[in-house]
């Protein structure tokens, strides 16, 4: 790995503490990823991006900023990346998936806060993530109480912009979100000094639709009886899609899919025959949270789909490209970013249950695992309906609650192992 210490120093990072993270990651990645057999060659690009996760891409952002460009960091898939991109900024996901940052977040937040929020604040306040140093604007949203209040604390150190996501999906709520996106556009124009033109916005919509289409193309392989790529590899690609250059990752995913086309023709599977097909649903799995996929796939399961923010919700639907004015395009963005994402922050949210049932069928899942990040009240509560409705539909379901630590690995092994045994008997 190249030496990025000078860059990290210049970003004001706590380099010594950050070195601990850099030392831990290769081991974890090796155990979970590089140990897999028969991986597609097209994964090489993604391996490299992860190996230098705090190097390659941050260096590109530094370069962009040197030329006067801006970086906008986001925490939620309801927030449209098309807007900052159309304003000439680089958009990057900031959600944090490592226990490494959690204690830092706990210095400021109640212990009973979900690990994703704690890790995100820890990454900023401990100065141990370059992306949290590079963002010129941090876009928070009001999807849950934990986040909403955490942004107030984050705002003491970082330039925040808050978008108010509605909690229902009535016509007036769509109007509200549309209005919020207009406000976001204005804020991004102020930040970059660039006027968003219809041509720029149209190009940004196309750019991100292409990324979605590539991810959808990748997901299609998981519907096959012989699945040519592991679930954890697809998870990794999805996680990287949140912060990598959109055009480049689109090309890399498509290149990988060309290889998978060949594999599919020859009925190549990376899983043993009879592996139980698992659909995951629930809270997001931010990089480097690979724990559940790793457990499931080492216990004889195959993760075939994630009904999660780091999954189907991120890429399944495209934005309507027919708009010609800014107003029309923002209307289409609203439809996609509010209408097509079924987060538990909405009430009611039965569309999500319908999605889970539909996806279980499309991906021929043998069972569903409903994952809840500890202290995520909304997904935890919605688990009641998820379990009941899947039971009614005759689809086996296992609910689990976990966090970013490995302390429950043995208990999870028993639960997930028993679930997979149950699906097989």
């Amino acid at each position: 790995m190249a030496d990025y210490h000078a860059m990290w120093e210049s970003l004001g990072m706590d380099v010594k503490t950050h070195d601990l993270l850099c030392e831990a990651l290769p081991g974890a990645f090796g155990d979970v990823y590089l140990s897999q057999e028969n991986r597609p060659e097209g994964m090489d690009y993604f391996n490299m991006v992860v190996a230098e996760i705090h190097g390659i891409r941050p260096a590109e952002l530094v370069e962009h900023k040197k030329n006067g460009g801006k970086v906008v960091g986001t925490f939620c898939i309801h927030v449209p990346d098309e807007i900052p991109i159309a304003a000439g900024a680089i958009a990057t996901g900031l959600c944090s998936g490592s226990q490494f940052w959690v204690p830092g977040g706990e210095k400021k937040l109640p212990a009973a806060t979900c690990p994703l929020i704690k890790a995100s604040l820890g990454a900023r306040f401990d100065r141990t993530c370059p992306f949290f140093r590079l963002a010129d604007l941090f876009v928070g949203e009001t999807t849950c109480d934990g986040k909403k209040k955490a942004w107030e604390i984050l705002a003491e150190d970082a330039p925040m912009y808050i978008m108010d996501i509605p909690q229902m999906k009535r016509p007036k709520d769509y109007e509200h979100w549309e209005d919020e996106i207009h406000g976001y556009l204005k804020r991004c124009e102020e930040l970059t000094g660039n006027k968003v033109t219809p041509a720029n916005l149209r190009a940004a919509i196309k750019l991100l639709n292409n990324k979605r289409k590539a991810l959808q193309r990748l997901a299609e392989f998981r519907k096959l009886d012989n699945i040519p790529i592991s679930g954890k590899d697809v998870l990794l690609i999805t996680q990287i899609a949140f912060y990598d250059d959109p055009a480049r990752i689109t090309a890399q995913i498509n290149k990988l899919c060309d290889e998978l086309d060949e594999r599919a023709k020859n009925n190549v599977s990376v899983f043993k025959k009879g592996a139980k097909r698992i659909l995951l649903t629930g809270t997001p799995l931010s990089i480097p949270n690979w724990k559940l996929h790793h457990l499931i796939e080492t216990l004889g399961g195959a993760v075939v789909c994630e009904e999660m923010c780091t999954g189907i919700r991120y890429y399944e639907k495209c934005v309507d490209e027919s708009g010609s004015t800014i107003d029309e395009m923002i209307k289409h963005l609203t439809e996609r970013y509010m209408g097509a994402i079924h987060c538990a922050c909405f009430t009611p949210n039965f569309e999500r249950i319908d999605d889970i049932k539909r996806l279980a069928k499309e991906y021929k899942a043998d069972g569903v695992i409903d994952v809840n990040l500890k202290f995520c009240n909304i997904y935890d509560t919605e688990g009641y309906f998820v379990e009941r409705e899947l039971n009614n539909a005759g689809i086996p379901v296992l609910g689990i609650e976990t966090d970013y630590t490995d302390q429950d690995a043995e208990q999870l092994k028993t639960r997930i192992g028993a679930f997979i045994e149950m699906l097989g008997n």
């Binding site: 639960r415 045994e421 149950m422």
Partner: protein
């Protein structure tokens, strides 16, 4: 070919040897898991061999928390699958199995002798054998002594769900001069109410059937039956349910 099941739990290690037709239990053995699962597993193997069979005559399946520490096992299965199978062997094809273990408690729904659903307690020892073990230790009693006392106690409320907090609550109760039998009775009631909550999370199937180390604790069985509003069945062999299930699932 005979079939043996080895169930290394967090507290007790169980082994059974079953006949070729898997209809009867030929031999059973129970010992504390101790501090070294691997050593315990070796002792169980020596015991099996002492029964007069050669290793090649027996198919061995390991289960339980310590299943990874049974290097000689032909295969391993989780304790949920095994407890379900073993309970069905002992109690019938449709059951709501309640397994109160040393460190976790599980409810397993059995239909047509198959596991169709299950739920386990979270990362917490409330509602498990560990809870009662800690309380008995705090009162300077063995578990059998603790249960004997509890039989004569009044049902007082132990309000702390957390084992650590409940332990300090018990210290306060002892300080106040609350009779030990009442405290013991209250502790059993606390476990029962936690277990009943877990049971209520799943749609039950057939009769309730208790497995695990408390299968010979009349007080706990009585209280559990009262709380669930339906008789809880069990048998002394129910502590071997995991090992029996493992043996039955041997191929």
């Amino acid at each position: 070919m005979l079939f043996a099941g080895i169930d290394i739990g967090s507290t007790a290690a169980k082994a059974v040897l079953m006949s070729e037709d898997k209809r009867e239990i030929v031999a059973r053995n129970l010992m504390p898991s101790g501090w070294n699962s691997r050593e315990t597993a070796e002792r169980l193997l020596s015991w099996l061999m002492s029964l007069g069979y050669s290793r090649d005559d027996i198919r061995i399946i390991a289960t339980g928390y310590g299943r990874v520490s049974v290097p000689y096992a032909d295969s391993t299965l989780t304790e949920i699958t095994c407890h379900g199978k073993g309970a069905a062997f002992l109690g019938g094809d449709d059951l709501t199995v309640i397994d109160i273990g040393g460190q976790d408690t599980k409810v397993i729904i059995i239909k047509n002798s198959r596991v169709i659903d299950f739920v386990m307690n979270d990362k917490c020892s409330a509602g498990t054998g560990k809870f009662l073990e800690v309380m008995a230790n705090r009162m300077g009693l063995t578990l059998p002594e603790f249960f004997a006392l509890a039989e004569h106690g009044k049902d007082i409320k132990i309000s702390s769900m957390c084992t650590v907090f409940a332990e300090s609550e018990i210290v306060s109760l002892m300080g106040l001069g609350t009779p030990r039998e009442d405290i013991a009775c209250g502790a059993v009631g606390s476990v029962v109410s936690k277990v009943a909550t877990l049971v209520s999370k799943k749609a039950s199937s057939g009769k309730y059937y208790l497995t695990g180390g408390f299968c010979e604790s009349p007080l706990l069985i009585r209280k559990l039956s009262e709380t669930l509003g339906s008789e809880v069945f069990t048998t002394p062999d129910a502590r071997f349910a995991g090992a029996i299930g493992a043996a039955l699932l041997g191929k």
